[in-house]
């Protein structure tokens, strides 16, 4: 049954190949189908042994209490994106494949299988990154991602060589503890690349700032969430994070430097891209602590960051820096999202910071909170600057429009979307997500209960092992 989450998107992806335009229309239905399946027909915990091979020998797909909420969230994001993004012909098909791959990577309990899905995600990601003629950015990503992918493969191979199995649960059970740290370092490099922790996340700003309504959301929200899942699965659940202190420090440095990078930017797109790096780095820094409350807070933080950045990037894609004068709804969504990112009360972001700081202080960790708050000051500075500028942009806009028209008259083709037009779908989606942030801001329990349950399950290896190996080999 759970294989449907992978199979259905894949089938529709193939079905859309003859008629390129179809993919775009399939995508929302497929995402909807996945959500319906997840809500009504699939419940944790269940396991599917592909080809009836017992778990330790064959590939096993696992739906447990950790992957279940992640799957719902990711498919929800895909549904939202399918409604808000402008998908040119081929992108529908690509995103269907991406859907299959992210669902796959969250379901699989097999190292090599997860490598395959990771590579599928990467390939799609490179193409998506090249959206809006952003070839250079995509090329950078390709190089970084290539190294990351290789490292992951090396890790998977080492696991196989050392333990004779690719099954995650079983491998962790029988792999020689001496070699585990080394293996984990291979995996870790992949994650540092894919989760954009500086310096390995240097590819991100160029990719995300291309002004597309697809790239930053597909990569920054959807892929990032699924990889945070895999990160937690491997480093919190199966193996130990190698050298967590250094990872923490690296992430903290990444937070500060990416905020400084954002501070310097003159363009909104790049500023947001740097802000995304900082957001995910915070999550990585928090996860590296391996403590249940902190982990839960990290997921809450991820939720807020991903939803807010979804709104910000979508509106940036449609409006650019042209202001909210004729787009009040979009403006309100944008402001809510940026206030939530900074962590002002009444928005989800406040509770994300609140839970994170509280949990960190409980384990007497004082450096990360300080870093987070310093980053928040910088973030507040530039995000509010952008808000004020876009809200109070009146006279300049007329001039801009004239410039654009003049350029058009001269035959410069690069400038698109002269109209301040946000498609209806995108307006509804951003407003809906902004309201979600407000609702969660008033009722943080909605998300916190979920993240707490994920955190408790992810830090407890036993149930996962029992589920897969059914109590023994």
């Amino acid at each position: 049954m759970i294989a449907l989450l992978i199979a259905v998107p894949l089938v529709f992806a193939f079905a859309s190949i003859p008629h390129e335009r179809l993919g775009r229309y399939f995508l929302p239905f497929v995402a909807m189908f996945n959500l319906v399946c997840l809500f009504f027909f699939m419940h944790p915990e269940q396991i599917l042994e592909v080809g009836k091979w017992p778990a330790a020998y064959g590939i096993a797909l696992v739906l447990d209490n950790v992957s279940y909420p992640f799957l719902i969230f990711v498919n929800f994001l895909i549904l939202m994106m399918s409604l808000s993004a402008t998908l040119e012909n081929r992108y529908g098909t690509l995103l269907l494949v991406l859907t299959a791959a992210v669902n796959g990577i969250m379901l699989t309990g097999d190292f090599f299988n997860s490598f395959v899905f990771l590579e599928i995600i990467s390939v799609i990601a490179y193409i998506v990154a090249a959206h809006k003629d952003n070839a250079l950015g995509a090329f950078k990503y390709l190089i970084f991602g290539g190294i990351g992918g290789t490292m992951y493969l090396l890790g998977a191979v080492s696991v196989y060589v050392k333990s004779g199995t690719l099954n995650m649960a079983y491998a962790s059970f029988i792999t020689d503890p001496m070699v585990v740290p080394t293996i984990c370092i291979f995996f870790l490099i992949t994650f540092l690349v894919e989760l954009k922790v500086l310096p390995l996340g240097l590819w991100a700003p160029d990719v995300y700032s291309n002004g597309s309504s697809v790239t930053p959301i597909a990569l920054g929200s959807i892929v990032t969430v699924s990889l945070v899942y895999l990160f937690s699965r491997i480093f919190l659940n199966i193996f130990d994070l190698p050298n967590p202190q250094l990872v923490g420090i690296l992430a903290m440095v990444s937070i500060i430097f990416s905020e400084l990078g954002a501070l310097k930017q003159k363009g909104l797109g790049r500023a947001l891209s740097f802000a995304t790096i900082s957001g995910v780095s915070t999550v990585v820094a928090a996860l590296s602590m391996r403590e249940s409350e902190i982990t839960s807070a990290a997921y809450f933080y991820l939720f807020n960051d991903v939803v807010s950045k979804f709104i910000l990037f979508t509106l940036f894609a449609y409006l650019g820096e042209r202001g909210f004068k004729s787009n009040k709804t979009a403006g309100i969504a944008f402001t809510f999202a940026s206030l939530s990112v900074v962590g002002f009360p009444m928005f989800a972001g406040f509770w994300a910071k609140y839970y994170l700081l509280k949990a960190l202080f409980q384990v007497n960790s004082y450096a990360l909170p300080a870093i987070i708050l310093i980053a928040a000051v910088i973030e507040a500075g530039y995000l509010i600057k952008w808000n004020v500028e876009l809200w109070y942009k009146e006279e300049d806009r007329e001039k801009d429009r004239e410039d654009v028209e003049a350029e058009k008259a001269e035959g410069v083709e690069e400038v698109e979307e002269v109209e301040d037009f946000v498609p209806f779908g995108a307006q509804v989606v951003t407003l809906l997500l902004a309201l979600t942030l407000v609702v969660v801001g008033f009722m943080p329990g909605l998300i916190h209960d979920q993240t707490m349950s994920i955190a408790n399950h992810v830090l407890d290896f036993r149930p996962y092992l029992d589920l897969i190996l059914k109590g023994g080999m």
Binding site: L202, W203, F344, P345, P369, A376, V377, Y392
Partner: protein, 604 residues
């Protein structure tokens, strides 16, 4: 309290939509809510405890809450009243009204809760709401907003960090529960927590070294909102300072340092001294009347801080009393400025003059305001300064006393500049047809004038509130009997002084009436002896008014510049990161990954 906060939260929405029907309805909603709040909180017994939205016992009505809420609501009532007419000049009237109500919601919330996280939430609501009003002002106000949010965030995140530090030690967010146990902690912890928590107060009340935002924000915000910023929002900072200094056993937490003052208070007093000095000297320099008053707010924040940090019978009461004085005076002055701008359209002192003939009531409001700021009897401003001086001198803190005296004398100088430049002197040709502000604008100003003089002559009501606060914090309350105020060094009877002033005033009036009248000549003739002038501005004596003083400290260091250069350094680092992003490709990412892998492997 809960219902009041609820009404305000709903009122923000209602105000927004009613404004759409008629702009004037927004301020009217705010006025109604403020008056309702004033009525309820005035009559509320001290010590009431209530739940808030299902959280138990979050709201606690202390004497300090009462005092600050009443100040806030007086300021907001006058502001709302004034806005009923002024709103027609607002750039975005709907949002302006709604955000004003939300600001009131936030600040009242801050005053009503001892729960540190709830306090932080309300605090940020007030900041965010006011934040989006500021850029509705002049062109530079957008930049001012950034100053505001950054400095404010520095303060509030310091507060948040301190709050969580306390939580990790004591497991509660309730300030009063924590204050009982804090004295036994280590010295480093006590210093850190106290400094962090007071950081928010220092940033908000414009104390050195976080004073730089006031000039930009107060100077460029919408005209009437400057009154709230300076008269009320800044007082949120004073509240935090008063709350922590009062609730924490500061005297036993830190060792005695000088003249019975503990080392922590002493540090604060010095911050106050520097604020007074900077505020005063910078105010003297300003040609923009709103920026001038912004620096005056810095100086007065210094007075309040010194008074509060003295933590004794007379000084603490004086500091608290100064809060209400400065709130009233700043509101009066900024409202009178708003009225002037409403009619003339400029805030530059040297572009105005002689408005006393055209706007007499506005002039009187300004006059009483500055008399109170300068601390001259019979206004209430004198009473609080007298109390602070008494306390300083009785402790023998002469250096600080000197700073406060310099500040007082300086305040005569700077308040005189708008007086002379805007209201006195020659009337500009372009202002020939200026009329007095409309009646609705004048009323709140008149009420404020009346309150200032009333509390200057009969300070009992305020002193009751102040001594209630002192009693609740376990301090010896300030001694007074009717209009007679007692300190260690003597006493002061404001009624006697008022009578003396009135007698003098009557004598002067009699002389004025009996003596022959002066001859009226055209104003220009006084400057030119009847010569024909090509450029009147050069002869406007508000141009370079205090040039002789400014010369003395021309090359002074500017903190605004320092902070800007810090930001530039940060941006330069950011540029470095960005350079890497733009350049990165190929080979050395591989090496980077390898180095990283090695680092991780050797378990550094």
């Amino acid at each position: 309290m809960q219902s009041l906060l609820l009404y305000l939260a709903i009122g923000a929405l209602v105000g927004y939509f009613l404004s759409m029907i008629n702009k004037r309805l927004g301020p009217i909603v705010l006025l109604a809510l403020s008056l309702y709040g004033l009525f309820t909180l005035w009559n509320m017994p001290i010590g009431s405890v209530e739940d808030l939205f299902g959280f138990e016992d979050i709201l606690q009505f202390t004497a300090l809450s009462k005092y600050f809420s009443i100040i806030t609501l007086i300021v907001f009532s006058c502001y709302a009243f004034f806005n009923i007419v002024w709103i027609s000049k607002a750039k975005r009237p709907y949002a302006f009204s709604a955000l004003s109500i939300l600001t009131l919601f936030g600040t009242l919330g801050v005053f009503l809760t001892p729960h540190l996280i709830a306090l932080y939430i309300f605090w940020e609501v007030a900041v965010v709401a006011s934040l989006f009003i500021v850029p509705m002002g002049k062109e530079e106000s957008k930049k001012a907003t950034i100053w505001y949010i950054v400095i404010s965030s520095i303060g509030s995140y310091m507060f948040l960090y301190g709050t969580f530090l306390l939580y990790s030690k004591f497991g509660t967010f309730n300030l009063f529960e924590i204050s009982g146990d804090i004295a036994s902690e280590g010295t480093g912890f006590k210093w850190l927590v106290s400094l962090l928590l007071l950081g928010a107060g220092v940033a908000k009340s414009g104390i050195f070294p976080l004073h730089v935002w006031l000039r930009n924000v107060h100077g460029n915000a919408p005209d009437t909102f400057s009154a709230v910023l300076s008269g009320q929002l800044v007082k949120m900072g004073s509240y935090i300072i008063a709350l922590f200094l009062g609730a924490f056993p500061i005297a036993t937490m830190f060792s005695q340092f000088y003249a019975g003052v503990n080392i922590f208070s002493y540090v604060l007093i010095w911050l106050g001294n520097i604020s007074i000095l900077i505020g005063t000297f910078m105010a003297i320099k300003q040609n923009d009347m709103k920026m001038l008053m912004a620096y005056s707010t810095v100086a007065n924040g210094g007075y309040i801080l010194i008074g509060l940090a003295l933590l004794d019978q007379v000084g603490f009461a004086g500091g608290l009393f100064h809060v209400i004085n400065h709130a009233l005076a700043a509101t009066m002055i900024f409202l009178s400025f708003a009225a002037v701008v409403y009619r003339t359209g400029t805030t530059k002192i040297d572009e105005m003059g002689g408005l006393i003939f055209k706007m007499p009531v506005t002039f009187v409001t300004y006059l009483v305001g500055i008399i109170s700021i300068a601390g001259i009897p019979p206004t209430s401003g004198f009473v609080s300064k007298w109390m602070i001086f008494q306390s300083l001198i009785s402790k023998g803190m002469f250096v600080t006393a000197m700073f406060t005296f310099v500040g007082s004398i300086g305040s005569f100088l700077y308040v005189f500049r708008p007086l002379a430049g805007v209201f006195l002197g020659q009337l500009k040709r372009k202002d020939k047809d200026v009329k007095e502000a409309p009646m609705i604008m004048l009323l709140p100003m008149i009420i404020l004038v009346a309150l200032t003089i009333l509390w200057g002559v009969f300070p009992q009501q305020v002193l009751v509130w102040v001594t209630d606060v002192q009693r609740q914090f376990g301090m010896e309350p300030f001694k007074f009997d009717g209009t007679v105020l007692y300190s260690n060094l003597g006493h002061w009877d404001s009624w006697t002084v008022f009578v003396m002033f009135m007698v003098g005033f009557i004598i002067a009036a009699v002389i004025y009436i009996l003596m022959p009248k002066g001859k009226k000549i055209p104003l220009d003739d006084q400057y030119t002896s009847g010569e024909f002038l090509h450029n009147f501005d050069l002869y406007h004596y508000a141009t370079k008014y205090y040039a002789f003083l400014e010369r003395e400290y021309e090359g002074h260091p500017s903190f605004e510049d320092w902070y800007t250069s810090i930001v530039n350094v940060l941006k330069a680092i950011g540029k470095g990161v960005d350079y890497l992003v733009r350049r990165t490709a190929s080979a050395y990412t591989f090496w980077m990954a390898l180095v990283l892998a090695l680092l991780l492997w050797v378990r550094w």
